[in-house]
Amino acid sequence: MGGYGDVQLLRDDGLRLDGRKLDEMRPVTIEAGILPAADGSAKVTHGLNVAVAAVYGPMEAHPRKIQRQDRAVIDVRYNMAPFSTSDRIRPGFNRRSREISKVTAEALESVVLVERFPRSKIRVEIEILAAEAGTRCAGITAAAVALADAGIPMRDLIVGVASGKVEDTVVLDLDKAEDNYGQADLPVGILPNTGEIAFLQMDGDLSPAEFELAMEYNFKAAKEIHEIMVDALRRRYEGGEA
């Protein structure tokens, strides 16, 4: 992030390199309940990103020092598989995965009714199998569907979505080239039914007007993704399982 002036990210006809419009999202598909061993699970493909989330619990929080007497703690582990990018990623936690695990846990804690489960822990495992910019957003979306699938009470289904700026133009849902060579990235976690924002990060610079437009794009995309999430849960349970 920081802008590379000589990299062309918008075509002469005003579309983006992959042919999308400025406010067009990459295709999203969601599947709920893919892991039989987990209490709840989901797979999200967002463009070329593939994120799998598994939820376990609520269970007794261990070690006991992490227990909260009045609420549950959400333990998120975000991890990128070594084969998820073209360069092999060294397995295990790193600075980036710790940061994303932390912000994701904080976003989910504001949505889950944690006060229902004192001294408990809800474990959320997010594994990124393929990465192409926007993995934290795909991870949050997958975690939300997996939490719903596990029957965890929540205020809303949180949706992860991002906008950004390339060539001084605000665009929705950055792909890898736009993320690497663009000027700004604005991932947010949105509660589509209430319009609240559960997490927001910004990398790069946006003017107030650009920020407004980026958020407008984000809210629009969040509504679309939310419909896909609900549809995934309907397909899973109205189809005859449960």
Binding site: P118, R119, S120, A148, Y237, E238
Partner: protein, 229 residues
């Protein structure tokens, strides 16, 4: 929900979904009221009974309540108490003073060891989810034979049916003693064939209870058992 459901009446709701106006109605489990609207907080089937709107959840964890009859399994033994796996978020504690035997300090293991199964009752649950169990009461005992099967907690009422009618049908069809704990553990005792049939029926119920009328599953079971005889 005691009846099996049919497709046309069901409405699956997801967390955050507005499920209707709150005026004149009460919010049941899985529902919160906000801005004169009822909002779902859990994934499940919407139901309205006795002017109360609630959610019949797809998945639910066992939340112990005082007085629950449960099937527990010994998970840890100390000098003067047992920790029981009660299929919930937390283990239940059975002190030797609430055991049905006179237990000397340090001799708890001689009465029950890890893996033993008991029929117990929840004596007390505090606000921090500490669960105390008791085995003092009619019928509460160590279960020395039979098999233990699991059933999703949200299906227990459906399996029992009104006045335990369905459970009795299942007992009669399999010729087994069957006890359904509030914690989703089912104890089955009888002939090996009967236990097998009961386990299969419970698996079928667990798999399809939201969609299929449980009476259909029981009818099928009764037909099969008659056919075998």
């Amino acid at each position: 929900m005691s009846q099996g459901q049919t497709g046309a009446e069901q409405r699956l709701v997801t967390p955050g979904m507005a499920v209707g106006p709150s005026a004149g109605k009460r919010a049941g489990s899985g529902i919160v009221a906000a801005d004169n609207q009822f909002i779902a907080t859990q994934l499940g089937w919407l139901q309205e009974r006795n002017n109360t709107v609630s959610i019949d959840p797809i998945h639910a964890a066992y939340m112990p309540r005082s007085g629950d009859l449960i099937v527990g399994m010994v998970a840890e033994v100390r000098n003067n108490l047992w920790f029981m796996d009660i299929n919930g978020s937390f283990q239940g504690l059975l002190p030797m003073s609430l055991a049905p035997w006179k237990v000397e300090f340090g001799a708890a293991r001689q009465h029950m060891d890890i893996g033993d199964v008991v029929l117990a009752r929840v004596q007390e649950v505090d606000e921090c989810h500490n669960v105390v169990l008791t085995m003092k009461g009619v019928g509460l005992r160590r279960l020395k034979q039979g098999a233990v099967e699991s059933l999703p907690v949200q299906h227990i009422d459906r399996v029992r049916g009104p006045n335990n009618e369905r459970l009795q049908r299942l007992r009669d069809a399999c010729d087994c003693r069957i006890m359904v704990g509030e914690n989703g553990r089912v104890w089955i005792d009888g002939s090996s064939d009967g236990i097998k049939q009961a386990r299969e029926a419970i698996h079928a119920i667990a798999k399809a209870a939201h969609h299929t009328d449980i009476d259909t599953i029981l009818n099928e079971l009764e037909k099969n058992m008659k056919g075998d005889a």
